[in-house]
């Protein structure tokens, strides 16, 4: 039970709030960026299950514009770590609706799970400061939820690969990457089309990595870092071959990072420097005395 609520320093929450709320603003302009267009042309709108359950209104110019303004304001406040609960809940609900509209046109992307869940769990933690080393189980639960969703994104995509083949392992030996490159042509990918065996190796490495990804939840320190770097490399390769970046998931890897060490690290660097400067000055003083005495 306590696995779900590890004690983690509040500072990590403060850093994640700043980074993720600012990332949401980036996301609204760079990734899920057609929500306001859909308000102007709701013709292709096909509401997803969650929108139907909540009976959300059809996107219009008025409601998507209000949503946009509310999101920007709440993200900016949330990023400063002021009013963390109010700003946090507003961002969570508003961004969920924003993405729901953005994905209600027959195409759903799978890179937003961790980010959306992160926004829903962050407001369950109270006020946090960047340097606060107080360890908290409430903070730990929020962090753990984000970590689980990051890992689930990989593990469940391996499950989906089995399911689509009728629960058989045919995906890694298939021509799926060739198919993907033909449909998203660009130079690196097109060069690789000549070497299908490289693509098969990549498919095997990808699916094995995805299946083993839950191990990362139990790794510590350097080994966990290696695990994270493997998947960040995986995204770099996907970006190079297919122009698929998955940044909304990548940014959530920071839930694994000991962000709470940033402030102490800066402080110790500064105090080291101060100490060195003090020493230098003392040294200077002695030399001056010796010269004066000579």
């Amino acid at each position: 039970m306590s696995w779900f609520t590890p004690a983690i320093a509040m500072a990590r929450i403060a850093w994640l709030r700043t980074i993720l709320y600012l990332f949401v603003i980036l996301d609204m302009h760079a990734f899920v960026r057609d929500t306001r267009d859909k308000g102007e042309h709701p013709g292709l709108y096909e509401p997803l299950l969650l929108a139907r359950i909540l009976d959300l209104p059809r996107p219009s110019v008025a409601n998507t514009t209000v949503l946009y303004v509310v999101l920007i304001v709440a993200c900016l406040i949330g990023a400063t770590n002021h009013f963390p609960r109010i700003a946090g809940w507003v961002v969570a609900a508003a961004f969920t609706w924003w993405v729901l509209i953005g994905m209600s046109d027959g195409k759903v992307d799978h890179d937003h799970l961790a980010l959306v869940i992160a926004l829903w769990v962050l407001p369950t933690v109270g006020r946090a400061r960047y340097g606060d080393q107080t360890r908290s189980e409430a903070a730990g639960w929020a962090i753990r939820c984000i970590q689980i969703c990051v890992i689930a994104t990989y593990f469940l995509s391996a499950v989906a690969k089995l399911r689509s083949a009728g629960w058989a392992l045919t995906w890694p030996g298939s021509a799926v990457l060739t198919w993907a490159i033909v449909r998203r042509p660009h130079p690196v990918g097109e060069w690789l089309l000549h070497y299908p065996w490289i693509l098969h190796v990549m498919q095997w490495v990808g699916i094995v990595g995805e299946f083993l990804s839950p191990v990362i939840l139990w790794l510590r320190g350097r080994w966990q870092l290696f695990g994270a770097l493997f998947f960040i490399g995986f995204h770099a390769a996907n970006t190079a071959i297919l122009l698929i970046h998955f940044l909304p998931t990548v940014v959530c890897w920071l839930a694994f990072a000991p962000l709470e060490r940033i402030v102490p690290w800066f402080r110790s660097r500064r105090s080291d420097r101060d100490a060195r400067e003090a020493e230098d000055q003392a040294e200077h003083g002695r030399q001056a005395e010796q010269q004066a005495g000579a």
Binding site: V116, W141, A160, R183
Partner: protein, 148 residues
């Protein structure tokens, strides 16, 4: 260290377990409709070594006399390729749906040549033993003369 109370811990564990349950349910049985708890099914299919790979595009004749591929993204014609692919059946039945592509382009790029005729084209690439064999074959699925 700040601990959570017994109730707080129980609620948190239950919420997390319920969330994991929803995710598993989504991956095992649901479709994209269940977002954010749907299956992670992008690029999840096994493509056979002799597959035909379809790529749908829209070609436009402009009032400047040129023929161009319509940029199917938000900045281009205001509509994504995935949306066109998902609705190509509807467009074949009712080519007037292509009018909104011309309208979208004209609205976003008022100073560029206008589209006068649009063709929905499917390029089919044949795989042989997992390799691309020859250039794609093109087939016009629908044609629409733009109205103003």
């Amino acid at each position: 260290m700040v601990r959570v109370g017994r109730l707080g811990r129980t609620v948190r564990v239950l919420v997390a377990v319920a969330g994991i349950g929803l995710l598993i349910n989504g991956s095992v049985r649901a479709t994209d409709d269940a977002w954010p708890f749907g299956p992670m099914s992008q690029y999840a299919m096994s493509v056979p070594d002799d597959a035909k790979i379809d790529y749908t595009r829209i070609s436009a004749q402009t009032d400047a006399g040129t023929t161009v591929d319509v940029p199917l993204n938000i900045e281009g014609a205001g509509v994504a390729r995935a949306e066109i692919e998902a609705r190509s059946g509807e467009i074949v039945k009712d080519p007037s749906l292509l009018q909104q592509v011309a309208d979208g382009w004209a609205r976003k790029h008022p100073d560029q040549p206008k589209y006068v005729k649009l063709e929905l084209i499917r390029d089919t690439t044949q795989l042989v033993k997992g390799r691309v064999e020859g250039p794609p074959a093109s087939q016009v699925l629908a044609t629409w003369t733009v109205t103003r």
